[in-house]
């Protein structure tokens, strides 16, 4: 399950347990879960994630390989959902396994910062009576660039 794209919900805890059970030789695991955000002053009803399947798979496989090579990770896993999601639903999960914590943290950070601007997913937020495509942020480009 090194890279998985799926429309079905996933259970972050179950994924972590499965990942850790294969952690031979590791001293550190880092897990990141991205969640559909909705706040009281700006509530969203749902979020639709459109993606370009073949390019998304390729970009995430390449990104995983790059992270493993760059930070000498023992393993890395990326799970990303597409389709319709609701507030509180997990969107993405990134897990890294390394001999020591710094590499595990850096690897997970690198994957998320790079994924945001290079994996072909697009979020559309549905609010009461209106839907709107989420705009890309310059801060996301800056986050990607800091690993260049």
């Amino acid at each position: 399950m090194s890279v998985t794209l799926q429309s079905e919900p996933f259970d972050p805890g179950a994924l972590v347990n499965a990942f850790l059970s294969s952690s031979q030789g590791a001293g550190a695991a880092v897990t990141f879960t991205g969640i559909v955000r909705s706040s009281e002053d700006d509530p969203i009803v749902s979020m639709t994630l459109e993606h370009y399947p073949s390019l998304a798979k390729r970009q995430l496989l390449d990104l995983r390989d790059a992270a493993i090579a760059r930070f000498a990770l023992i393993d890395a896993t990326i799970i990303h959902r597409f389709g319709t999601l609701y507030p509180g639903d997990p969107i993405v999960q990134v897990m890294t396994l390394a001999p020591h914590r710094q590499a595990a943290f850096d690897g997970a950070n690198f994957i998320m910062d790079t994924l945001k601007t290079t994996a072909p997913f697009w979020k559309k937020e549905e609010r009461a009576g209106a839907s709107e495509w989420v705009k890309a942020k310059q801060s996301d480009d800056a986050a990607t660039a800091r690993w260049a």
Binding site: E50, Y52, A56, L115, A119, P120, F121, W122, W133, A136
Partner: protein, 83 residues
Amino acid sequence: MKVLYFAWLRERLGRDFDEVSPPDGVRSIADLIDWLGAKDEGFALATANRELIRAAIDDELVEHDTPIGSASTVALFPPMTGG
């Protein structure tokens, strides 16, 4: 050649893809966008701000000056917002 569209670009154009045969003078992604826009005012309007258009050729992200060569699939889409 198949040209795929995603997200708001797909919605504004009202279609998922076009099947096109660009002439020899259309060498790069930028040329392709110009050529498609010359045929279709809606396309020209939707792609007027080139900074908001990203591209891929046969499942590889490319720049606007990348030659399209003998590509079978080109994809045009807005900046990505996953994660």
